[in-house]
């Protein structure tokens, strides 16, 4: 009885979904293509190949590079982008001494309260403060940026596929819209106030190219080309997204080493335990 009901129910589901398949197939045949071609489909590019010192299973931070990246963030990105989840004290991890962190923190202006009147005011940052936001709230951010809210950068390297390379590619990827794109998709012309960038999912980005050669002066004398700055800030934002990245991999090796050792022992013990009852040929 259950089997008969089962067969009927099964046929009902099968028929319905095959029916849906029929309609879908008819639509595909009718329009002559599987997926409609769009400019995003055709011209979006995957992030460029770029190497960092922290890549790979044995990677370590390049502290010099992180410091340069911090400088790029401070002097360029921070005008519009916040770093909400990173504390100023975290800068100690970039190789700054305690005094340097304190001095660096004081360079930032954070919201404060006047101790006498209780009114909102500003004060120099201390290491326990978090990076201040450039805008008091989202509405102010949208209003100042043509309705496009600059995203928080703390987790950007983890919030995009292949995030570190994505940041680098986006910053170095601004270009003229290809003629072929305009020929095939005349409607996809980059609008006013937008900038063509094939590494951005919908190709048109509200952020103007933020970097230009020599924009910052690196303390360590590194040439501040757009490529160099993009790479440095991508490394810095990888660190802000996951400050524990290097420690994670190092811990991983210790754990794996132990596990492999223990598993070999477990394998030997298993063989040992099973040996007496494993079938053998009689020896007579």
């Amino acid at each position: 009885m259950i089997r008969l009901i089962g067969i009927l129910v099964g046929l009902a589901f099968t028929f319905t979904v095959v029916w849906a398949f029929g309609w879908g197939a008819a639509a595909v045949i009718g329009q002559g293509y599987l997926v409609e071609e769009t400019a995003e489909h055709e011209f979006h590019e995957h992030p460029k190949d770029v190497n960092f010192a922290h890549d790979g299973a044995f990677g370590k931070w390049d502290l010099q590079q992180l410091q340069r990246g911090y400088q790029v963030y401070k002097e360029t990105c921070s005008a519009c982008h916040s770093l909400d989840y990173v504390a100023l004290r975290d800068l100690a991890q970039l190789g700054y001494s305690e005094a340097e962190v304190k001095a660096e923190a004081a360079n930032w202006t954070v919201p404060g309260i006047d101790p006498n009147t209780g009114e909102a005011t500003t004060r120099p940052g201390t290491p326990t403060d978090y990076f201040p936001s450039p805008y008091p709230n989202d509405i102010a951010a949208a209003a100042a940026n043509n309705n496009a809210i600059p995203p928080d950068l703390s987790l950007m390297a983890k919030a995009r596929h292949d995030g570190s390379a994505y940041i680098y590619s986006l910053l170095t990827g601004y270009q003229e819209q290809p003629a072929e794109l305009l020929r095939r998709f005349p409607d996809a012309e980059t609008g006013v106030g937008l900038y063509y960038n094939p590494y951005f999912p919908n190709l048109n980005l509200a952020m103007p190219p933020p970097l230009s050669d020599g924009q910052v002066t690196y303390a360590d004398g590194t040439q501040a080309s757009v490529d160099q700055m993009a790479k440095d800030v991508a490394a810095f934002l990888t660190w802000t997204a996951e400050p524990t990245l290097v420690k994670r991999k190092q811990t991983g090796w210790a754990v794996l080493g132990f596990l492999i050792f223990a598993t070999v022992l477990a394998w030997l013990a298993k063989k040992q335990v099973w040996a007496p009852i494993t079938p053998v040929r009689r020896k007579d």
């Binding site: 319905t16 849906a20 919030a159 994670r248 794996l256 596990l259 598993t263 298993k270």
Partner: protein
């Protein structure tokens, strides 16, 4: 409840004897997973996954309880509290990655465990109850995992919650009020997040209870085995301890190695980058996908694209739930007297060349965007999925001629060789 030749628990130390009189907990463990539980001697490594699932459950409970000491289930601070765990709490990053990837590996292990049961006919009499409780555990596991994924309150958390609770909205008449009731609002917000946290903490303990029932029910008939032939004599079995504790110990080591490679070197590979963006009710991600372990069911949900008597959306919801509910009827749909797929020539073909490819397609299509050719492929796979369980399996028992079974487990272990014996000596290695 056990075979007459099972080892008897005989405590020697006075303290253990005292305990055995007052509260025979050691005896219970001895008879459940110790030397007092005789197990078929021919279990292969597919039989490791039950113990591994138990391990994964324990791992999730421990890491979860610890994470709850730092997590704040409030929509304004939930995302930040997860980042606080990742950055400031001692070892917080390790605990959170262990928990997030632990969920994935729990599903890997459970899927392999279910796959074992499906191929070797573990759901058949006399083990129907073991199977039914197992399906209940799986449903609870899905609910727990879904609510756990909402807690970080990222974009995928929010939109996943919105889509899944939206499914209830497809139910005629009561759907919309039900959805509002589930969420405690009109969209996922603080009320929903709080109750999801509460239930995410509660359900694992319900799962623990069901696991105890699952093991209890298993011990009535005893474990199945790859031949599907029931235990006939003492030579068919070995004590669980030390034989299968040793084998499970090795299996656990291999499991942990794979798990730790992912957790320490690719901890975000199984997640979605969008969940590192705080929840934003005003911006939908480009395409919403659940975690990978829900992809087959998500594919079935989306395969029903055309109204037919009922609205397409309702068909999808019914089919998605039905795809798991059919498992409840499996012991009575498949009435073939032979359990193991090894001795069922037609079943074997449908299993390897029908069900497995269909599942692969459903996994793949469920994670892909809702566009062609993925939708059409998932429709074919969905059709096969229902045909397999509801039409093919019931009919096979009429049509199929099983291959001859070995007389006993011992015979299967010894094979053709008349001179083979079961071991070098008869002294049990304890």
């Amino acid at each position: 409840m056990s075979f007459p030749w099972a080892n008897q628990y005989q405590p020697k130390a006075p303290l253990m004897r005292y305990l055995d009189e007052k509260l025979p907990l050691p005896r219970l463990v001895y008879n459940a997973v110790g030397a007092g539980y005789p197990v078929p001697r021919n279990l292969n490594y597919w039989w490791n996954f039950g113990v591994l699932a138990g391990f994964a459950l324990t791992l999730q409970l421990i890491t979860g309880i610890v994470l709850a000491m730092h997590y704040a289930p409030n929509a304004t601070v939930a995302f930040g509290s997860v980042e606080h765990i990742m950055r400031d709490v001692n070892w917080g990053w390790a605990l959170r990655y262990a928990h997030a990837n632990g969920a994935s590996f729990f599903f890997v292990v459970v899927y392999l465990h279910i796959f074992r049961g499906l191929f070797y006919g573990s759901y058949k009499a006399p083990r129907e109850m073991v199977w039914l409780i197992g399906v209940v555990i799986f449903l609870l596991l899905m609910a727990t995992a879904f609510m756990g994924y909402v807690l970080p309150w990222g974009q995928m958390s929010f939109w996943g919650a919105k889509v899944i609770t939206g499914l209830f909205g497809a139910i005629p008449l009561v759907g919309e009020p039900l959805q509002v009731w589930l969420l405690g609002g009109y969209a996922p917000d603080n009320a929903a997040l709080n109750r999801f946290f509460s239930l995410h903490y509660l359900l694992p303990f319900v799962i623990v209870g069901c696991v105890i029932l699952h093991i209890w029910a298993l011990h009535i008939p005893g474990s199945s085995n790859p031949t599907g032939v029931e235990v006939k004599s003492e030579s068919d079995t070995v004590p669980f301890h030390p034989y299968y504790t040793a084998k499970d110990g090795f299996g656990l080591g291999v499991f942990l190695i794979i798990y730790c490679v992912i957790t320490f070197f690719q901890p975000n590979a199984l997640g979605h980058p969008d969940n590192y963006i705080p929840a934003n009710p005003l911006a939908t991600p480009a395409h919403i996908v659940p975690e990978w372990y829900f992809w087959p069911f998500y594919a079935i949900l989306r395969a029903f694209t055309v109204d037919l008597i009922l609205p397409a959306k309702l068909w999808g919801v019914i089919a998605m739930f039905a795809s798991i509910l059919v498992w409840f009827f499996l012991p009575w749909l498949d009435k073939s007297p032979v359990r193991s797929g090894h001795y069922r020539p037609m079943f074997r073909k449908f299993f390897w060349f029908g069900l497995i490819p269909a599942m692969v397609v459903l996994f793949w299509a469920g994670g892909a965007p809702a566009e062609e050719p993925y939708v059409m492929l998932s429709q074919i796979a969905t059709a096969y999925y229902f045909l397999h369980f509801l039409v093919i399996l019931p009919m096979l028992s009429w049509l199929e001629r099983p291959e001859p079974l070995p007389f006993s487990i011992t015979e299967a272990v010894l094979g053709e060789d008349k001179k083979a014996v079961l071991g070098e000596n008869t002294t049990p290695a304890t």
